[in-house]
Amino acid sequence: MGHRPFAIKSHADSQGAAVIVPGVTTTNIAVNATLLNELTGAAVRPRHTAIAAIKPLFTGSSFALKTILDIVGTTGLGIDSSVNPGWAYYLALLDDFGDPTAGSVHREYLVKKGVWIPRRLTCAHQGNAVLEWEVYTLQKASNLPIVVSDVAALPTVTIADSKWTLGSIDIGGVVLSDYTNVTIDFGLEVIPDSTQSDVYDKRIGVKNNVPIITIEGHDIKWWAASPIPLNGAALAHANSNVYFRKRTQDGEHYVTDITAEHLKFTMAGIGTIDTVGSDTNSVATTGLRIQAVEDASGNSPLIVDTASAIT
């Protein structure tokens, strides 16, 4: 007897059809209960305790970059469920031989209202890109923020697992070389909110959307008149992009550049050199940091194209 992670099903009102997300790796649920137990008089043990707030939060990661980014974009998905069921995470109940049990006996955590946001995308040299995400949960009418069921059927995963790794990078129109790590922090700060001493949050707002892209590598000449001098450089969507190259399961290793299955992020903002590190008997490293901003045309600081050729 035990459970294993199975899949995420996202079917908010704003979605036409349910999407079953493959490639789930880690998922955690933090209940985040705040208990009040003030001492009174000379007591050293509380004589009254109560729950003031419960703020359940899902955190997870996945290789299913395209599937998730097509839903959440770079700013997140507001989950509501007046028409459709909402957002759900499934844990498969295992039989005594470690296989998922037949029938509707599996655990479902259903979120009827909340927000699903991308937190961070990371990729290291030769590794697979991983997207970390969060789901903030809200109370919808009389429903708890997470509705738990142990009589759920497992959804059918139809989307094939895919993996992406480092692709080409242009910064300010300059092709970078010798990069080893890329991190895209989507920079979303959300504020769940409640009033009237309600225990559960009822609404949520985005406080900040300040994406930061960090690129690390071995080419200390990124610090130069071009692409990034000491005083920084203005970057635009037109000349700054980071690709994640889609892998294949054969001797070709990667989907061809001209096939529109790669991920492309473009960004506008300011690029600065972050650090240059050097140590005895090792290759010097450098870090480049881009603070993305909304451009004069009102474009998002960070734009993702989930079906791009590498050009």
Partner: protein, 53 residues
């Protein structure tokens, strides 16, 4: 020597991409919004067309 390229990224400007670019929403959601807006526009046009007496 680092190679300098000309500006090459042209943001897609179809209605779906425009929504994604401006609002940062996911493509699947943008497609639904555009589909709904087009259906509403079509319904409004049909309503405005006078019927033959």
């Amino acid at each position: 020597m680092l190679e300098k390229k000309k500006n090459k990224n042209i943001l897609k400007d179809d209605p779906v991409s425009e929504l994604c670019n401006k609002r940062g929403i996911g493509r699947a959601i943008a497609e639904e919004i555009v589909k709904r807006e087009q259906a509403e526009a079509k319904a409004a046009t049909r309503k405005e067309t006078p019927k033959e007496q």
